[in-house]
């Protein structure tokens, strides 16, 4: 991922880890509805936001992602009932800790998008891309081979 770090026409690379039941379906809906959103995002589908090991986020940052988006079902709408509620705690602690050690807060973004919110999904991706673009290429914690 590190190859476009220094080039002038740098584009943010964002890893989106999304849950199968809500956000992925939301992304699907955005696609079906032909809603335009920035192409900077690479989507990884997981069964539930509760399944996302916080290590995925840190690992993606280390491998050179400029931003990470984690998204699941809205609280109370989890397919597995409480997966996103556990995830909320995990990521609240992770985000606070990353911020504490001096990582930029806007690189790790957490949100909820439901299956019917194709429009919100596009808005989220736009928002995240803009936030990460404003920060510039990731430098902290990035492994250079």
């Amino acid at each position: 991922m590190a190859e476009n770090q220094s080039s002038e026409n740098w584009e943010p690379r964002i890893v989106a880890i999304v849950c199968n039941w809500c956000t992925y379906a939301g992304a699907d809906l955005a696609g079906i509805s032909r809603i335009q959103y920035p192409p900077n995002v690479r989507i990884i589908r997981v069964p539930c936001s509760g399944r996302i090991n916080p290590f995925y986020v840190v690992k993606a940052l280390q491998e050179g992602a400029d931003g990470i988006l984690v998204s699941g079902c809205h609280p109370g709408e989890c397919h597995y009932l409480t997966g996103n509620l556990s995830a909320r705690r995990k990521f609240a602690a992770l985000k606070s800790f990353l911020n504490y050690i001096g990582m930029e807060g806007d690189r790790t973004i957490f949100t909820w998008v439901s299956a019917s919110e194709g429009d919100r999904f596009a808005q989220v991706i736009k928002g995240v891309t803009e936030a990460v673009r404003a920060l510039g290429p990731a430098k902290k914690l990035v492994k250079h081979l």
């Binding site: 840190v58 280390q62 909320r88 705690r89 602690a93 990582m103 957490f110």
Partner: protein, 335 residues
């Protein structure tokens, strides 16, 4: 202190003779002056070896876990009807009992498998502080008397006040008396200065982001990844730690600085709601990495976000294993 130690030896001897415990995990005199080291005692006659003083540093809950799991492993090849139960006695101060509570909460072993010999604690000596005050000189002989370390070094006799060498985590300790015990020895210790426990964290939080990052990278650059912190930590008991896992390989094994940062970051993050601030990791760190600055933040978040303190009650589950409907959501991104 002296009385506690005397009583501790008597009680330990009785417990072993009566067969109430099979082994006692405690501290014995270290091989160097002004040190104590963990020991395992199963013979009543050896109970005389036990000590309790300001040099007992390591959190013994780690060894309790190890002993119980080694015993379980050894019982695997024994016929079920011949299997023996083993009770491990442990000399436990406040932080040790908190670690035991975490183990019990995480269903590592049953309460009947441990016998907690509670001892009051007034803090232990931080070897790094002591060595800094003595300008790195080797201690040839030393005694602790009247809250003062009387030390003999190559360049002469020195005196150091105990308060100056107490570990940071002890100075602001909130739980210096055992939270659970089957047998309490001695009077409860006076409280420490617990109101200042988050002072360093609060100050660090106010620094600009680049300074915080610079401090983190500076501290982590010291780390040689000996994993002593993990080995000493009672909350780090996984059979296969993520640093040694190869499928997937979470952390690279080279000397890349980001690998070290990621290792430390993730080990620290595993301590959310599980760090009892016993200072074992800091005491064993050969490079003097300031881990407490980061661990204490997790402690603070644990309290502020989840209204939880690690290992203080059997009824409150680990914060990341549970949830509340109204958990904070201010970090959620809304476009």
């Amino acid at each position: 202190m002296e009385n506690v130690q005397k009583k501790l030896r008597e009680e330990a001897k009785n417990l072993l003779e009566e067969g109430k415990v099979d082994v006692i995990v405690g501290y014995e005199q270290g091989t160097l002056p002004l040190t104590a080291t963990p020991c395992f005692i199963s013979d009543p006659l050896e109970a005389e070896k036990l000590v309790w003083n300001a040099f007992c540093v390591q959190n013994l809950a780690k060894y309790v876990h190890d002993v119980i799991f080694l015993h379980r492993e050894s019982q695997k090849r024994v016929k079920p009807e011949d299997r023996k139960k083993k009770v491990v006695g442990v000399v436990a101060r406040g932080c040790t009992t908190r670690s035991l509570l975490i183990h019990l909460q995480e269903r590592q072993y049953d309460r009947s498998e441990v016998f907690v010999i509670g001892v009051p604690c007034t803090g232990y000596v931080d070897k790094k502080k002591q060595s800094a005050l003595l300008e790195g000189e080797e201690v040839l002989e030393g005694v602790l008397a009247n809250s003062e370390l009387q030390v003999k070094t190559a360049s002469g006799d020195r005196k150091v006040a105990l308060a100056e060498v107490l570990a940071d985590n002890c100075l602001t300790c909130r739980f210096n008396n055992p939270l659970i015990s089957d047998l309490m020895i001695g009077e409860a210790a006076p409280p420490m200065d617990a109101d200042r426990e988050f002072e360093a964290v609060d100050a660090f939080e106010k620094l600009p982001i680049e300074e915080r990052w610079a401090y983190f990278t500076k501290e982590m650059a010291k780390c040689i990844r000996c994993y002593a912190c993990r080995n000493a930590c009672p909350s780090c008991y996984c059979k296969i730690c993520f640093v040694e896992q190869t499928q997937p390989r979470w952390v690279g094994i080279g000397e890349d600085e980001t690998d070290t940062q990621v290792f430390q970051l993730m080990r620290l993050y595993h301590m959310v709601g599980r760090c009892v601030d016993c200072g074992s990791c800091i005491a064993v760190c050969p490079m003097g990495v300031d881990l407490r600055k980061f661990l204490k933040k997790l402690d603070k978040d644990d309290l502020e976000m989840f209204d939880h303190r690690a290992g203080t009650s059997l009824d409150s589950p680990a914060p990341l294993s549970t949830y509340r409907e109204n958990d904070r959501e201010d970090f959620i991104f809304n476009p």
